[in-house]
């Protein structure tokens, strides 16, 4: 069994256990059953940050080594980051609607900055799509992959730096304010989503490598089909 299959199996098992643990947590006195949204929302946000960090590393790796594998990893990680950012925004909006009474609050620095981060990485994916030459694409997107990461710390620390509706971190070095079984389920959820990220990334990176190989093969066939014109009728 290779690494991809092992990671996928581990991720599936971990996700199943994570959801089972989340289902077993008690409802919140104020939020009721909706408190369970955090078991998807928090791990999604974490994986989004992790994925954009992966894009940063892949981009830096390509610029240093010029190995295509790093570029494919950066792309795969960005795609997953965009997906998990969207999931985080969506679950946050649902939770906000039932808890705060509004799905979107413009005064909330975390929501606004996360949405901006989402658009920045959509731009990253659009740039990749717009560039046809693989080396050119890798170079351009590597630079953007590094520049785009500048705002990730701003998004993460926005709840601390600004007066905002979003709560500050519940888990600090001094302990946690959460109920113990909820905390346990959420921590396991973080682990399960991280495994899922690793599994998805390895599959998607592999797929991008195969795509690149096929494109290179196609290009060769297209080129070899062109032959020199023959001027018939004259010796």
């Amino acid at each position: 069994m290779n690494l991809r299959y092992a990671l996928t199996a581990a991720a599936l098992v971990a996700l199943a256990i994570g959801f089972w643990l989340a289902a077993g947590t008690p409802p919140d006195a104020v939020q009721g059953e909706y408190v369970r949204i955090i078991h998807v929302h928090v791990p999604s946000s974490w994986v989004a940050f992790l994925a954009f960090g992966g894009t940063l590393l892949g981009s830096a790796g390509w610029l240093i080594t010029k190995r295509a594998r790093f570029d494919h990893y950066a792309a795969a990680s960005a795609e997953l980051g965009v997906f998990f950012t969207a999931l985080s925004l969506l679950t946050g909006m649902i939770w906000g609607y039932v808890t705060w009474g509004i799905a979107w609050d413009w005064g909330d620095a975390r929501m606004s900055s996360t949405a901006l981060m989402f658009f920045v990485y959509l731009g990253y994916l659009a740039l990749r799509r717009a560039t046809l030459n693989p080396v050119d694409r890798a170079r351009r997107s590597a630079i953007l992959g590094i520049v785009a990461f500048v705002q990730v710390p701003l998004v993460y620390f926005s709840v601390v730096l600004f007066r905002t509706l979003h709560q500050t971190p519940s888990i600090t070095t001094e302990g946690s304010t959460m109920e113990s079984s909820t905390l346990r389920a959420m921590l396991f959820g973080l682990f399960a989503f991280t495994l899922a990220y690793a599994a998805f990334t390895t599959w998607r990176t592999r797929q991008l490598i195969i795509e690149a190989e096929l494109t290179a093969t196609d290009a060769e066939h297209a080129g070899s089909a062109v032959t020199a014109p023959t001027l018939g009728g004259r010796p």
Binding site: L63, A109, S112, S113, L116, M117, F119, V120, L122, G123, A126, L127, A130, T131, D136, R139, R140, A142, I143, L144, I146, V147, A148, V150, Q151, L154, L161, F162, R163
Partner: protein
């Protein structure tokens, strides 16, 4: 010293081209003023409301038209000119810095015209924020976006898609700095945020200048 001399020469060259063509002064600034003039027509005739949205409109127009100011680089510098500079051995980092200086200066001029116009048209309170830092931030991001999208078919729509969301986190503290001070929140947080972002962008821009030049081929 040689780095800065080269950067300033590039900046002087770009400013001379701007002086001759007047793209920013004669086209972008009047267009920005027209936008400021049109926005209140879409709002109810409520002086208080118009005065409230005034500063926000100033920053929106600065961002959207500021992008045009930075994107003008792709029009003034042809691939042949870039190739010549490369063959002459001009340091890409100095070239990048020079172009950022030009764009930042032009953006400051743009803001200097726009700010009094906003006060006249909207009668807001004095416009909050740090226009100089905002101009520098937009200039840095815009210059990088121009290089990253150079030569692509969809660059006219792609470059704004990259610049706008990246610039907003910079503009948020820039726009709210004075208000934060008045509220008693202090100057440290917005100053640190802006400083960190601009410094990080400047370092990244200079570090990736060689790759950016190859990308813009």
């Amino acid at each position: 010293m040689r780095f800065w001399r080269t950067a300033l020469r590039i900046a002087m060259r770009d400013l001379r081209i701007e002086g001759r063509s007047g793209e920013v002064l004669l086209t972008t600034i009047p267009f920005g003023l027209a936008a400021l003039f049109l926005i209140p027509l879409a709002l109810p005739l409520d002086r208080q409301l118009i005065a409230t949205v005034g500063p926000g409109m100033f920053w929106i127009v600065t961002l959207l038209f500021g992008m045009f100011v930075t994107f003008r680089q792709s029009a003034v510098e042809s691939p042949a000119q870039r190739e010549t500079l490369r063959l002459l051995g001009v340091d890409p980092a100095a070239r990048f810095t020079g172009r950022v200086i030009t764009s930042a200066l032009l953006l400051v001029v743009f803001e200097a015209v726009l700010a009094p116009a906003t006060v006249v048209l909207y009668a807001p309170e004095p416009i909050d924020g740090w226009p100089l830092l905002a101009a520098l931030g937009i200039a840095l991001i815009g210059t990088m976006a121009v290089d990253v999208t150079a030569g692509l078919r969809g660059r006219t729509s792609l470059a704004p898609l990259l610049v706008a969301p990246l610039s907003v986190p910079l503009l948020m503290p820039a726009a709210s700095a004075a208000a934060a001070i008045r509220r008693g929140d202090g100057i440290v947080v917005p100053a640190l945020l802006m400083g960190f972002a601009v410094l990080a962008l400047a370092i990244l821009g200079v570090m990736t200048a060689h790759s950016l030049e190859e990308a813009s081929g």
